[in-house]
């Protein structure tokens, strides 16, 4: 062994001193001694540990040794290998292996590997909602009842995982019909009106006496009703009331709805002379409970004026207008512009509208004649049917029915629901401009291309043009969906909604607060993207955002409450200097979603960092090994540390836990919902951790510094995830090589690679703008 080491070292010195020679020596058969000496004991032959055989580094198949080289580099770089009980590498050996792998990967640049294939992608719920919102101005709720997506590789837009079953289709058709009807209704600027007569309200308290269509409350009490089948959005509620006035004060009426409206008003009019009280509502649910209460009952038979002895509230009725959707009129400008109007023949009108719908809803720059014909045919036959049904129906009613049918069809069609990229070809081909436009818009906006992008689509045929278009698109407000779509999945923020922190221990962690946690991180991601900040800022930003509940949670004074109050956005968020070091690592979001319901989990936190920020997740534990013996004892943070230490004494566990635990334990200064703590259950918190290779870190700063020192890997990790999200499939070897190349080039140019750089780099990659050859995989 000593000799082997010696040999290894000399070879290292050689490799180090003359990189050029090493580069020449990348022939598959030549493995440097340091690899042999370090890896061969365990990783050689058919029964190699972990299924990794260094023989793979030396095969004739470049794709195999490409993957193996990346494997070696990543395992060594993360100090996962060699395992501790084997003996650590010294700095020289470590550097040599990294240098050798990097050189080898660089030499593979010329390698032309086949790109992977993308399956046609069904729109995810997120994409569906955004597309409907952008096309029609409808707020994104259409997908609320759709089944949850099957995630693939951590994302909801991976084509092969997006299966479709009957339940999906039913919901799609329902939504298509609903959206089409709303669009056509709103086009006439006539929001739905629902009227409920007072007599139909249910008295839940006090005595209500129907009086014709109205209802009179003769004692203090409450009338209530439920209005179902609503669509979230803005509403106006009118309460029509009058009073039997008595005593010294007017009738007091309180109007409440769930979702926050609670107003008390005076009803001054006398019976028969109805007054209308209007309230604006923002509805987030699909139903609405309205309660109208009479507060100040009064009865004095001796009052001097006999007409003013008995005070009652008379509720004539409720009128609910809405949803008020002025956005629809704005968003559907494209549809109105395409409409030649009522003076045109049905035939002409159907064809003009069909072209527009194909272009925008089906994302076809120029609709194939057959497609436009199909749309027009649906329009005409619905028009005929409407007229046949009701001969008196005016031209407009029939036109509405026809447009509704055509839109419903366009939205139910696979041409809308799937992102389809042209006909298959035998070899790799460049995507057509409109296909690129669609890829770009779904990557950056999670939505369909808009008119401007479609207009430019013909030019989107080379990487530079694609890059330029992407750069423009990133300036658009819709690019914020990279934060809510990509980042919220990459960092697992979307899971916050379904977490169940123990309400006894963490009463503050309400759904609202958890939504705010998620938003904070999204806003930081969005700012890092828009302000062209380095990737590393995600874990090292000097700013963050808070709203009032979150400020409270962090224990700081709400900064938006000052007299000027100008800092707060309309949504109630304020940008503030970072409250903690470590960017998103110190966000309540990340700290909460990596905790168990009752306690923190250093292991989950460590795993989260390795998986998402370093793209180097350790393998899952063997069955039965993924928990601790004594849950009760774990409530003490100190004993958790001990248990983890115990766990690491088993070499089989240590190999992974040594990587997770050090990171996770350093974050113990934050509880399971992300609040700072120095003591837990009477024990002072210890935030020290040891990383593989023996590096000692402490606290959030320590984790941040470790990541900062591993900047290249953080950049690579983000690049790979962005790629999966952009292209909708896992990375192949070819993709990994391309990404390696891209990141290396970027870091050479400027070490502080930005999130924006990565996005623009990815849209330039072959895989993004070329279609892949048809795979001949068997499909059942």
């Amino acid at each position: 062994m000593a000799l082997a080491r010696f040999v290894a070292r000399t070879s290292v010195a050689f490799a180090f001193s003359s990189a050029a020679l090493v580069a020449q020596d990348l022939r598959p058969s030549a493995l440097p001694e340091v690899i042999e000496a370090t890896c061969a004991d365990c990783h050689r032959g058919a029964d190699a540990e972990g299924g990794f055989d260094i023989g793979q580094l030396a095969t004739g198949d470049p794709t195999a040794w490409l993957a193996a080289t990346i494997h070696v580099r990543d395992r060594v770089a993360s100090r996962e290998m060699p395992p501790e009980d084997f003996g650590a590498l010294d700095d020289e050996e470590f550097a040599a292996i990294l240098a050798w792998s990097e050189a080898r990967l660089a030499a593979l640049d010329a390698l032309d590997l086949p790109p992977g294939s993308v399956t046609v992608r069904r729109l995810s719920r997120f994409e569906y909602d955004n597309t409907v919102r952008d096309l029609f101005g409808l707020t994104p709720e259409a997908s609320a009842s759709f089944p949850a997506e099957n995630l693939g590789y951590g994302f909801d837009n991976v084509g092969s995982a997006l299966t479709l079953s009957t339940l999906h289709l039913e919901k799609y058709l329902d939504a298509a019909q609903e959206v089409a009807e709303l669009v056509v209704e709103c086009a006439h600027d006539a929001p739905r009106v629902r009227r409920i007569f007072g007599a139909k309200l249910n008295p839940t308290r006090g005595r209500g006496i129907p009086a014709g269509d109205a209802q009179r409350l003769i004692t203090a009490g409450t009338l209530e009703t439920w209005i179902a089948s609503l669509r979230p959005g803005r509403y106006e509620l009118e309460v029509l009331a009058s009073g039997d006035q008595a005593g010294d004060e007017p009738v007091e009426m309180r109007v409440r709805t769930d979702g926050g409206l609670d107003r008390t008003v005076h009803v001054k009019s006398v019976r028969g002379d109805v007054e209308t009280h209007r309230f604006a509502l923002d509805l987030t649910e699909r139903s609405l409970r309205v309660r109208v209460s009479f507060l100040n009952d009064y009865y004095d038979p001796k009052f001097k004026d006999p007409k003013r002895r008995d005070r009652n509230l008379i509720v004539e009725g409720l009128v609910l207008h809405g949803p008020l959707l002025p956005e629809v009129a704005v968003a559907t400008e494209w549809l109105r512009r395409a409409d030649p109007g009522e003076s045109a023949s049905v035939d002409v009108r159907s064809r003009a509208l069909a072209r527009a719908v194909a272009r925008r809803v089906w994302r076809q720059r120029v609709a194939p004649a057959a497609d436009a014909r199909r749309l027009a045919r649906v329009y005409r036959s619905a028009h005929r049917a409407a007229q046949a049904r009701d001969a008196e129906a005016g031209g407009r009613a029939a036109a509405d029915a026809a447009l509704t049918a055509m839109l419903a069809y366009s939205l139910g069609s696979p041409r809308f629901l799937f992102r389809i990229e042209g006909a298959p070809t035998a070899g790799t081909r460049k995507l057509a401009g409109e296909e690129i436009a669609s890829r770009l818009s779904y990557f950056l906006w999670s939505s369909a291309p808009d008119e401007a992008l479609l207009a430019d689509a013909r030019e989107l045929t080379d990487p530079l043009m694609v890059r330029a278009a992407a750069a423009r698109m990133l300036e658009d407000p819709r690019a914020a969906r990279l934060a809510t779509g990509f980042a919220a999945q990459w960092l697992e923020l979307r899971n916050l909604a379904m977490l169940q922190p123990d309400p006894d221990k963490f009463p503050a962690a309400t759904p609202e607060l958890r939504a705010a946690m998620r938003r904070e991180t999204e806003l930081v991601f969005d700012a890092v993207l828009r302000e062209r900040r380095p990737v590393l800022d995600l874990v090292d930003a000097d700013f963050t955002f808070v709203n009032a509940p979150l400020a409270d949670h962090y224990g700081i004074e709400w900064p938006g409450a000052d007299a000027r109050g100008a800092a707060a956005t309309p949504e109630g968020w304020v940008r503030v200097p970072a409250l903690r070091p470590g960017g998103v690592l110190g966000h309540a979001s990340v700290l909460t979603l990596t905790s168990n319901p009752t306690r923190t989990s250093p292991v989950k936190r460590g795993l989260w960092i390795l998986d998402n920020l370093l793209d180097a997740p350790p393998p899952p534990p063997a069955p039965g090994d993924d928990s601790f013996a004594d849950e009760a004892a774990l409530h003490s943070a100190q004993s958790m540390r001990e248990q983890l230490a115990q766990h690491r004494r088993d070499p089989a566990c240590a190999v992974c836990h040594v990587r997770m635990d050090g990171l996770g334990l350093s974050l113990e200064g934050f509880d399971a919902v992300g609040r700072s703590r120095v003591v837990a259950d009477g024990t002072p918190i210890d935030t020290r951790g040891v990383l593989p290779g023996g590096r000692k870190i402490e606290g959030l700063e320590g984790v941040r510094d470790a990541l900062r020192d591993d900047a290249r890997q953080v950049v690579r990790a983000l690049a790979r995830r962005l790629f999966v999200y952009a292209v909708g499939r896992d990375t192949t070897d070819a993709d990994r090589l391309a990404l390696e190349r891209m990141v290396r080039r970027m870091m050479e140019e400027r070490p502080a690679v930005t999130v924006r750089d990565l996005i623009l780099g990815i849209v330039e990659l072959d895989a993004f703008w070329r279609a892949d050859p048809v795979t001949t995989k068997e499909v059942r």
């Binding site: 099957n150 995982a161 739905r192 409920i196 109805v274 298959p424 069955p623 601790f628 849950e631």
Partner: protein, 460 residues
């Protein structure tokens, strides 16, 4: 003149009136609601099956009776079923070989759910080339489904996580679906009881109104015609893998069409008579019930399953009480830890106790479901007697991820022709495939099948 009187005189379209009516539940639309499909059609009593999946295994010492045969003592978890004892078959010793790693490494939870009704070994993938087997409920649905508006219903309690990975390199398709209509197509499940009610019994706004119902159907039909033509045209232009996706779409189009046709057919049958059953909206589903707690939602789902069966809307149902590896907390019964975390108790008494509580809770709820089915009388017995209700988990001991000696029982079906040997605890030889039991169930359902998945023979 009051403003309201003026309002009232405004012309309101018929549609708006209906909308107004349908939207305010103050009006008794649901009480008056009539569903054409009601008691089963004349002839043989329909045969039915329900499959209930519980994630994270079971506390086995509390499940497996010590004795075999009819005179076994009911352990803690089976106690709630005491009232139905004679109608329950506890089938021990069954195994899901497909759930085992077979060199694929960790991911037992995903494999447990994926194999539960398919008996297959799912292909390990986080996204590409998802492949499992066809599930037993779907085999039955294909054979029996023609008779009812819904060939089958797939239901669950949890939509599933919306970011990250589901289980150790397995796609979420495996952890959140137990029904598979083809090896590559998981059947998505409904998790919202309100949506389920709407799906079963239609658009509330159209209930009063046969004309409108017809119009809606006609509208849906022409929409289906149009999109099918589209899908077919598209499909011609695509490569094989993409065509597979379009096939899923076309299959779904066909199935919605069939459903429309079957709904119409069953209504026609009842057109003259007044034999339509009255459907009551469960109180908890009325919007005034507000947000629903887990227990309420669970009971509602069971109630709606009962309703779906009594109205003969379907004869095959699958129900996931949680997705594989669910980490739901059950605080109200004294189990504040996450279910999955707790299942890896390693013998820790504090955790075991919580797991027992969770398991017991679900057994109790299941027993209540059996009560509901038994309370529904049929001409020749009751609904439970004509429904085989399977309850169990794809893992035995969640702590150790065992795929053999599974906790499986079948309640009901005891009034069917040649019923399963209920009223006893039967222990099979080790490694008897669970698929053998499925084969027996298929036979009782009248489905011709010589084998299913890894079955070796019929069990009973």
């Amino acid at each position: 003149m009051t403003r309201f009187a003026a309002l009232r005189r405004q012309a309101m379209s018929r549609r708006a009136v209906l909308r107004g009516a349908g939207c305010t539940l103050a009006l008794p639309w649901l009480d008056a609601m009539r569903v054409g499909l009601s008691s089963p059609r004349p002839g043989a009593t329909p045969r039915r099956a329900v499959f209930v999946f519980q994630p994270n295994g079971m506390s086995m010492p509390d499940w497996i009776p010590k004795q075999e045969g009819t005179r076994y003592e009911m352990p803690f978890l089976l106690e709630p079923l005491a009232a139905h004892r004679k109608r329950v078959l506890v089938a021990s010793g069954l195994a899901l070989d497909g759930g085992r790693a077979k060199g694929d490494g960790p991911g037992d939870h995903a494999r447990a759910s994926a194999s539960f009704l398919t008996g297959a070994h799912p292909r390990k993938t986080a996204g590409d080339d998802i492949e499992n087997g066809v599930s037993v409920d779907q085999v039955a649905a294909q054979a029996l489904g023609d008779a009812t508006p819904f060939r089958s219903l797939e239901l669950g309690m949890e939509p599933g996580r919306s970011a990250g990975r589901c289980d150790s390199g397995y796609s979420c398709a495996y952890t959140r679906n137990i029904s598979w209509s083809s090896p590559t197509t998981p059947v998505a499940k409904e998790t919202d009881p309100r949506e389920l009610f709407r799906r079963l019994f239609g658009d509330p706004e159209a209930l009063h109104d046969a004309e409108r119902t017809r119009a809606l159907r006609a509208q849906r039909r022409s929409l289906l015609d149009a999109v099918r033509a589209d899908a077919k045209a598209l499909s011609r232009d695509l490569g094989p893998e993409d065509r597979g996706k379009l096939d899923e779409y076309l299959t779904s189009v066909r199935s919605v069409e069939e459903r429309l046709a079957r709904a119409e057919a069953s209504e026609a049958e009842f057109e003259d008579g007044d034999s339509g059953a009255r459907i009551e909206l469960p109180d908890a589903l009325r919007p005034e019930a507000g947000g629903l707690a887990f227990v309420e939602r669970l009971q509602l789902m069971y109630e709606l399953i009962t309703l779906a069966l009594t109205t003969d809307s379907t004869r095959i149902v699958t129900f996931m009480l949680g997705n594989a590896g669910s980490n739901r907390t059950y605080r109200w019964i004294g189990a504040p830890g996450g279910h999955h975390n707790l299942s890896h108790h390693r013998g820790d008494a504090h955790k075991v106790e919580q797991i027992r509580k969770i398991n017991r809770f679900h057994c109790e709820q299941f027993a209540l479901f059996c009560d509901r089915l038994a309370a529904h009388a049929l001409e020749d017995g009751d609904l439970l007697g004509h429904t085989m209700v399977l309850f169990g988990s794809g893992l035995a001991d969640g702590n150790r991820h065992r795929h053999e000696d599974l906790p499986i029982l079948i309640a009901g079906g005891d009034q069917m022709k040649r019923p399963l040997p209920t009223g006893r605890h039967v222990r099979q030889a080790k490694e008897t495939p669970l698929a053998n039991l499925y084969l027996s169930m298929l036979e009782r359902l009248g489905v011709k099948a010589d084998t299913f998945a890894d079955s070796t023979r019929k069990l009973f």
